[in-house]
Point group: C2
Chain length 423, copies 2
């Protein structure tokens, strides 16, 4: 496949590579190369010409809650723990109803497609059937997803609290079934967070991770009250991070921890050692009064970071909006901590494409051999009144664009239509 247009990507943190009126060649699922002039060996082949549109890497979202897509924008008068009790858990309890889950999952996957998130790692709910259905639909959608059946066996309302053994058995069943039946969708171990998982459950999940070589996702140090709660639950373990580590849940280079705003130096060293990816959720951290993650500081210390939406702590699944919010909260952080330069939009764009994509391997930039996941971006009529460089067009899309600006989506080397067309 040969595409022509304004090719913009960030192969390295902080560096934008722009090929104005360039060429992008794919082979199978992968990028073969990007060129200023089309190499002669491709001269006779058909070209998809996107004209003045931008061709950018698709977004990857490493932290969001699929059932909470319904709750975007609800209840930000509360902090994390009461917010979970009041708004989140009652909604998640409804996913015991398979017909309801089916409707929501289809709308969820359509929505991710619409906003340009073509790879993701999502929390489903505790329900085995609902989680399995999300995995099946994700497979059908053409998106590339990691899906977690949530595990919770303490500090949860009755409707969501699992028996420890049943939670582990359900998880193992989904692991095996997904390996047999699915190709593009994987299971990710998903203890909700330390306060809702007993030591025995965490230990069992750690063993499953080891046995099946599985990735892990959870929450870490989002809110001071939560951090204090974890300390009181595990007085014998020195830190929140070490609780996960104790039970084998910081799996080397295969772990996503959302938030990570309140960390000791020792925790940061451990997270770096384990190659944990920290999912920075700027909108959520603001909405739930959690504070501002010291993102620049984390990056300077060599921690792996990415930008994620954290729906529904985040009020929108559009990762572009989280890119803008990352710059905005980082800017406010710098006013208090001038020693930390604010994160630029180019850096935040990298964090939402290549930074997140590396969790999936060679994903998130247009380098040879990388998966070809892309969005084609066009300005609206108003923005088109002004001549702009491709970089400026991308900046404007990130700051005020929406799904109407996305003219086409490619995932894994092929054009991706809306997964579940509306009837």
């Amino acid at each position: 496949m040969i595409l022509h247009g304004n090719i913009v990507h960030a192969p390295v943190l902080g560096e934008l590579e722009v090929r104005t009126q360039g060429w992008l060649v794919t082979e199978g699922e992968q990028v073969a190369g990007v060129y200023d002039t089309l190499p002669p060996q491709y001269a006779d082949q058909p070209v998809t010409d996107w004209g003045d549109a931008l061709i950018i890497p698709a977004f990857c979202d490493l932290h969001l809650h699929a059932p909470q897509i319904l709750n975007r924008g609800i209840g930000y008068d509360k902090e994390l723990l009461p917010w979970l009790e009041t708004y989140t858990f009652p909604t998640e309890a409804r996913f015991g109803d398979c017909a309801f889950a089916e409707r929501v999952w289809k709308a969820f996957l359509n929505h991710l497609w619409a906003v340009g998130t073509l790879r993701f790692s999502a929390f489903a709910t505790v329900h085995k059937e609902a989680a399995w259905r999300l995995m099946e639909l994700s497979e059908q959608s053409g998106l590339r997803g990691l899906v977690g059946k949530v595990n919770m066996d303490r500090n949860a309302p009755d409707a969501l609290r699992e028996d420890t053994d049943a939670s582990l058995a359900d998880t193992e069943e989904l692991i095996c079934r997904s390996r047999e039946e699915l190709r593009r969708t994987g299971l990710i171990l998903t203890p909700r967070f330390v306060p809702s998982t007993t030591e025995r459950l965490m230990e069992g999940l750690g063993r499953l991770g080891e046995r099946y070589h599985l990735p892990v996702q959870s929450h870490l140090a989002e809110n001071p009250s939560e951090v204090a709660w974890v300390a009181s639950l595990h007085p014998d373990i020195p830190s929140y991070t070490e609780v996960y580590d104790r039970f084998g849940l910081l799996r080397q280079n295969q772990t996503i921890m959302a938030h990570a705003s309140y960390l000791s130096e020792a925790e940061k060293c451990l997270l770096q050692e384990r190659g944990v990816t920290l999912a920075h959720c700027a909108l959520s951290n603001t909405n739930l009064s959690s504070g501002i993650m010291p993102l620049r500081h984390h990056l300077e210390q060599g921690l792996r970071c990415c930008v994620a939406s954290d729906v529904a702590g985040g009020n929108t699944a559009a990762v572009a909006a989280s890119v803008a919010a990352t710059v905005q909260t980082s800017t406010l952080h710098t006013l208090r901590h001038p020693e930390h330069a604010p994160v630029s939009w180019v850096e935040a764009f990298w964090l939402a494409t290549r930074g997140a994509g590396q969790f999936f391997g060679d994903v998130g930039a247009f380098l040879p051999g990388y998966a070809f996941d892309a969005l084609v971006i066009r300005p609206d009529r108003l923005d088109a009144l002004m001549e702009r460089t491709p970089a400026e067009r991308l900046e404007q899309f990130l700051y005020h664009g929406d799904d109407r600006n996305i003219a086409a989506r490619y995932c894994g080397g092929t054009f991706l239509p809306m997964p579940f067309p509306l009837t």
Copy 2:
């Protein structure tokens, strides 16, 4: 006119009035009343039934720059003063070209209509012809606008710096012409800000204000460097606020000052005395590293405040997004200043409707005798999957809705179609 639907408005700061499946009756341009059951005298009249949709007051935006609609999302790596030099002034200089201005103004007015801003106070540019054309087009649009020809006679690039007498003469010409020819659009005096207006220009504008009973809009104490600059330009005047006051530019109950983030107690007293409306621009203050305005504190001190977009310091003209950003930055402010409770979304909604609307008189709520300016809001397919109260639907619209959720617009008692249909 009789409308039926879920009527939601905020007549008082912090209080949301909801009439589920209620009735709203208008007489001429005004609201006659809202009712839970339709009074018998209206029983035989035709009803516009909006079903489950919300009927809410339209947004008022008291601070935005019309030419900068082109620059939304551009250049937030810089603070205010270099941002103006690098991005803003070169764009504004293009409005000497009347054909260009015409295209942009139409797109600007269409865009305000689309996002539900039906009353506004906007800066045009220094150009008399362009400013006049915006006034004419605003009149045609059906929106209710105050438009300012910008005045600048110092510290501006050559292309925008005016001769003092010419600036005053041009302004007076527009005042007279608009009074003769326009009915719904007024001129508002618009010294850009103290650093770009000489004392003689400010004095002349103050005299025009007095002679023609005109409102005034400008900027105040947005950024520490700007505040320091004003102090160095006017060492004999004790504060930024008093510079405007010295020259008659804090006109009683008729003045809008944008930002007002860095004020002394004496300045706050003076602003309160003069009944100045402070336009809080949360997105802009974040994007340009200006800081967070202490909104709760201002409100508690009895200052008049509203929420405004400040395009293009703000990255979107959608006032709903500025409502959300107001809550978000206020939430972050509270983390540092726990003595100031965060501003709630209900308060921020008031600030964007009635809080701003009062500058125009009885505008911004559905009280008897108030202008009937309204938006009809419908959830998208995804949000419609969940049953919600009308208040929750409004909250979701503010946090992630867009112009596609606005099914209809009414201004001054009549249905408002798109002003300049696209051909």
